[in-house]
């Protein structure tokens, strides 16, 4: 690690890796610092991603793909099962990744492009001079060194501290943190090519429970509930244990994964002087699905592109870096977050009886485009009443 870079990236997840790779490809000197001793571990993710979303960044590789998904299913609170298939029967619609190897691959690509990488290296504080960010104090094995940079990219995940130290409020509202637990379970009977989502107040209040297959009778089985609904005796772990005991009594848990997923709106502003905030740290997780891998890669790449442009022009002020904030908000991703936030807010207010009613309207659905939004559109088509209830939001779904 050197003492000065064009771009310093805090965090070695998908956002940080894409930022590092892109910065290096643009000819900048870049360093990714990861506080954990290993890239990719521990996993804090259900590991699902849509096919098109993944292809935008990388060619699928069997070394880090656990399973291919051909469809999905939604289980209503009363147990009714709605099957979702692609119009093209049997075709791939998404993947369940092996994040330990996926994240490594992404960071390896950043390193190959020329970025430096430092593990077990934690950003302990920003370097501030006259109130302006100039880099970060990096702690490695108890020793703290100053690493200066023209631009710092915060990609430090849900537990992000860096932006907060720079004066930006990143606090997630209690009702909008998905308090989550997942077990990787082996030796269970599952549909190996479908992701299954369970809804309902008894299963996952204001959240959902998931089964994401990972091949060979193994799956990520997890649950996320609203922080508001969490408390002693009724935590995410309690809900998951109850489900597993009933559904997979003979399954074996080979990995135990707690986590938090933000489902709030993104930060009000994702830039400051010499600072860009990306991925989970920017709270750009899809509020409806809790999916964040694509959004992290997209914002990480874009942040480095804007950083390169601003560095070449010699102006990395907040005003100049605002191009990043404006671009992602106007992007397909930014619009999907805003729209899905409203859909989430509508859905969490619905009682189980209403969710049953909606899901009962179709037992099997063939989707032309396999996405959350086309599913919502199809559901509205068979439940025209919903149009009125959704109000202003409905217009954006036409």
């Amino acid at each position: 690690m050197k003492s000065k870079y064009d771009v310093l990236i805090i965090g070695g997840g998908p956002a940080g890796a894409l930022a590092g790779k892109t910065a290096a490809e643009k000819g900048l000197s870049a360093c990714i610092v990861e506080k954990r001793p290993a890239i990719g571990a521990p996993v804090r993710c259900a590991e699902g991603i849509g096919q098109e979303a993944l292809l935008e960044f990388i060619e699928p590789d069997s070394r880090w793909i656990s399973a291919e998904m051909h469809g999905a299913g939604i289980v209503a609170p009363d147990g009714f099962f709605m099957k979702l298939e692609s119009d093209m029967a049997g075709s791939k619609v998404g993947y369940v990744l092996d994040r330990k190897f996926f994240d490594r691959e992404l960071v390896w690509k950043a390193a190959e492009a020329g970025a430096d990488v430092a593990v077990k290296s934690r950003a302990a504080a920003p370097i501030m001079e006259n109130g302006i960010l100039k880099g970060a104090k990096i702690e490695y094995c108890g020793k703290v060194t100053d690493v200066r940079a023209d631009v710092v990219i915060a990609a430090d995940g849900v537990e992000s501290k860096f932006s907060k130290w720079c004066g930006i409020d990143t606090t997630v509202p209690v009702r909008e943190i998905m308090s989550s637990v997942q077990y990787v379970m082996a030796d269970i009977d599952i549909d190996e090519h479908s992701t299954i989502f369970y809804l309902g107040n008894d299963v996952a209040p204001e959240g959902y429970l998931w089964i994401f297959p990972k091949g060979h009778r193994t799956a990520n089985v997890g649950v996320g509930i609203s922080g508001k609904k969490s408390g002693e005796g009724h935590r995410a772990k309690d809900y998951l244990d109850k489900f597993v005991k009933k559904t997979f009594p003979n399954g074996k848990t080979i990995e135990y994964i707690p986590g938090g997923v933000s489902v709030c709106r993104p930060l009000a502003c994702t830039v400051a002087d010499n600072l860009l905030i990306t991925g989970d740290a920017a709270r750009v997780v899809d509020p409806l699905t809790g999916g964040g891998i694509y959004n992290a890669m997209y914002t990480g790449k874009l942040a480095a592109e804007v950083a390169a442009d601003c560095i070449s022009k010699g102006d990395t002020s907040k005003k100049a870096l605002m191009a990043y904030d404006k671009t992602w908000r106007a992007s397909k991703m930014g619009k999907a977050i805003e729209r899905n936030y409203h859909i989430k807010e509508y859905l969490i207010k619905q009682p189980d009886t209403k969710l049953n009613e909606i899901i009962h309207s179709v037992s099997k659905m063939n989707l032309k485009e396999f996405s959350t939004i086309s599913l919502i559109k199809e559901i509205i088509k068979v439940n025209p009443k919903l149009m009125l209830e959704l109000g202003a939001l409905a217009a954006s779904l036409r």
């Binding site: 537990e159 943190i177 637990v181 935590r235 707690p258 938090g260």
Partner: protein, 58 residues
């Protein structure tokens, strides 16, 4: 004060994201609680495992 049950904590950082004081930090495999913790209990509520507890000081 806030008590971290290290045998229960899974070092996931869920609590860090909701702390209004910025008093928690996930440092690799342990959770650090800073002096500015107000024992508000928000973190203890959202912890997916129940690893945090606000205890009354004698």
């Amino acid at each position: 004060m806030l008590n971290v049950h290290r045998d229960i904590c899974g070092y996931c950082g869920c609590c860090v994201s909701v702390c209004p004081e910025g008093a928690l930090e996930l440092i690799d495999a342990y959770l650090s609680v800073e002096k500015n913790c107000t024992s508000c209990g928000i973190c203890a509520k959202v912890c997916p495992l129940g690893a945090l507890e606000v205890v009354n000081e004698e």
